[in-house]
């Protein structure tokens, strides 16, 4: 069965064309005036380097390796994230952690090397899902650019400090000394 396409018949008013043109010009004029009177900060355009978009909740951006309040790493080098990673961009080497302190929760393992190749990473967030210690977060920074490939290979200290400036926290490095541990007392209760 053939489908009858109904042809649009313009009314004589529409066929005059000029009222429609004037209407259209009124619309564009309205937009012009509205845009002209809107201060730059309230326009639709986000002028990028000066203005930045607030990323939505759940946005998966640059990783951060979380740390305890005293600055020691939360990661226990369990390799869960490395296994979960579909892009295989995480490289971990574990080490024994002799200088146990209180906040570590008496874990004896920590990453010696924790590398993420940001060029390989697909920001899927599987590592965050897999982590039993909540030690790796994908947060809202998306400004990843570098002049060479090597500098996008983030190491353990890079990953711990990715949000140090944003959060106003001290930048951690290998040389930072941890505060003296409180006396250990294994026999409790």
């Amino acid at each position: 069965m053939a489908i009858l396409v109904k042809k649009v018949q313009l009314s004589w008013w529409d066929r005059l064309y000029f009222p429609a043109v004037l209407k259209g010009m009124w619309v564009t004029f309205g937009h012009f005036i509205r845009q002209l009177l809107t201060p730059t900060s309230k326009r639709f355009t986000i002028q990028y380097p000066e203005m930045k978009k607030e990323m939505p909740e759940g946005y998966r951006g640059l990783h951060e390796l979380k740390q305890f309040e005293d600055g020691s790493i939360k990661c226990v080098a369990c390799f869960m994230c490395q296994e979960a990673c579909p892009a295989r961009c995480i490289t971990i080497e574990a080490e024994e952690f002799s200088d146990l302190n209180f906040t570590q929760g008496y874990e004896e393992k920590r990453p010696k090397i924790f590398k993420i190749d940001m060029l390989r990473c697909i920001y899927c967030g599987m590592c965050e899902e897999a982590c039993p210690k909540d030690a790796i977060w994908l947060r809202k920074d998306y400004e990843l650019a570098a002049y060479d490939r090597l500098s996008l290979n983030y190491g353990k200290w890079d990953l711990m400090n990715t949000y140090a400036v944003t959060d106003g926290k001290p930048v951690q490095s290998e040389d930072n000394e941890l505060p003296p541990s409180p006396p250990r007392n294994f026999v409790t209760m």
Binding site: F18, V21, G24, M25, V27, T28, F29, H31, F32, R34, Q35, L36, T40, R43, F44, T45, Q47
Partner: protein
């Protein structure tokens, strides 16, 4: 000092001043018009528009630095001529587009004529009663076709020639409606001298109100003559790249672009003179007591507003199809202008 020079050799020096001021004005107004076009279109489309270029890396002045940057870029770009282009015509084409656009302004009076020490000074390049009057800009406007067509032909490029052919067909078709609607006006005035036309409007009111139909036809046809949207058949980037100036680069392209904007200014000046009362000041009939500068300001205000309307319309209406264009030109604008002429002629002989 100007008055001193004037008293020495009034005619020559006054002519020199007028030429310099007029050409300087057209050349200086065209680049800011590109800025108005870009920023205005941005505002109309809820964008921000070019605002990044900065003088010395600091002074941005609302993106006006882009105008300078554009000009500078045009000067320093490589001047490329396609291998199979007709070199001579390719060189002439930008001038052919630019000069007729510039010439049309010559008879337009920008202000009231005034007397100084027994000499009458007219604020138009060519004095009144020269015998060609407002027929001159219309004739020169007809020459603009050659700029487009020669540019298209010399490029030896299919897109260019398509654009050029379309544009020339369009300009020739719309010249008809343009001429006929103006004839109705000339018949009513009883002459075609711009000063006469303006004085008539000072006494009896603007032709915009007295011949609205003529104004409408003239206005639409001016859009076609200047090759602006919704009649930009010379270009049409969605189908034939950049049309007639596809092959043009560097300052040649710059000159073509400048020609378009000068054309807009001259077309606006024509419309102002013919239908908006020229330099006359609205709501006032006392033509002889107006200060000269006030009349110039009045003319400029009308001119700039019309230039803005050209930009405004461009960013409001989409382009016509070619058959629609021909339909409008021959079956609507031409009969309308004829009706306008006949009705006005009847009104006069009544």
């Amino acid at each position: 000092m100007i008055l001193g020079i004037l008293s020495l050799a009034p005619e020559l020096s006054w002519m020199l001043i007028k030429v310099l001021v007029c050409i300087g004005f057209l050349m200086l107004l065209a680049p800011p018009l590109t800025w108005v076009e870009r920023r205005g279109s941005a505002m109309i489309q809820d964008r921000i528009g070019p605002n990044r270029a900065a003088l010395f890396g600091k002074i941005k002045i609302l993106g006006l630095a882009h105008v300078l940057a554009d000009g500078l870029k045009f000067f320093f770009k490589e001047d490329l001529i396609p291998k199979d282009a007709n070199r001579a015509l390719f060189w002439i084409a930008p001038a052919l587009a630019f000069i007729p656009a510039l010439l049309g302004f010559a008879v337009i009076p920008v202000g009231r004529s005034f007397e100084l020490e027994g000499t009458t000074y007219h604020l138009s390049l060519i004095d009144p009663n020269n015998g060609m009057g407002l027929l001159y800009p219309l004739a020169i406007g007809g020459l603009a076709v050659y700029g487009v067509l020669v540019a298209a032909w010399s490029s030896n490029n299919k897109w260019s020639i398509l654009g050029g052919m379309r544009a020339s067909a369009q300009m020739v078709s719309y010249e008809l409606g343009l001429g006929l609607s103006v004839i109705a006006l000339f018949v009513t005035v009883g002459g075609y001298d711009p000063h006469q036309v303006i004085l008539d409007q000072v006494q009896h009111g603007w032709y915009l109100w007295r011949q609205p139909l003529g104004f409408l036809v003239f206005f639409v046809c001016q859009f076609a003559e200047t090759n602006r949207l919704p009649f930009d058949f010379a270009e049409g980037e969605s189908e034939i790249v950049a049309g007639f100036h596809t092959e043009f680069g560097s300052m040649k392209f710059g000159l073509m672009g400048l020609a378009e904007y000068v054309h807009i200014i001259v077309a606006s000046a024509l419309i102002v003179t013919l239908y908006l009362g020229g330099w006359s000041i609205p709501f006032s009939r006392d033509g002889d007591s107006w200060p000269v500068l006030a009349t110039v300001a009045s003319f400029l205000a009308k001119l700039l507003f019309l230039c803005w309307v050209f930009v405004w319309v461009r960013w409001t209406l989409p382009r016509f199809r070619y058959d629609q264009l021909m339909h409008i030109g021959w079956k609507i604008m031409f009969p309308l202008s004829l009706i306008n002429l006949v009705v006005n002629a009847w009104w006069l002989t009544r």
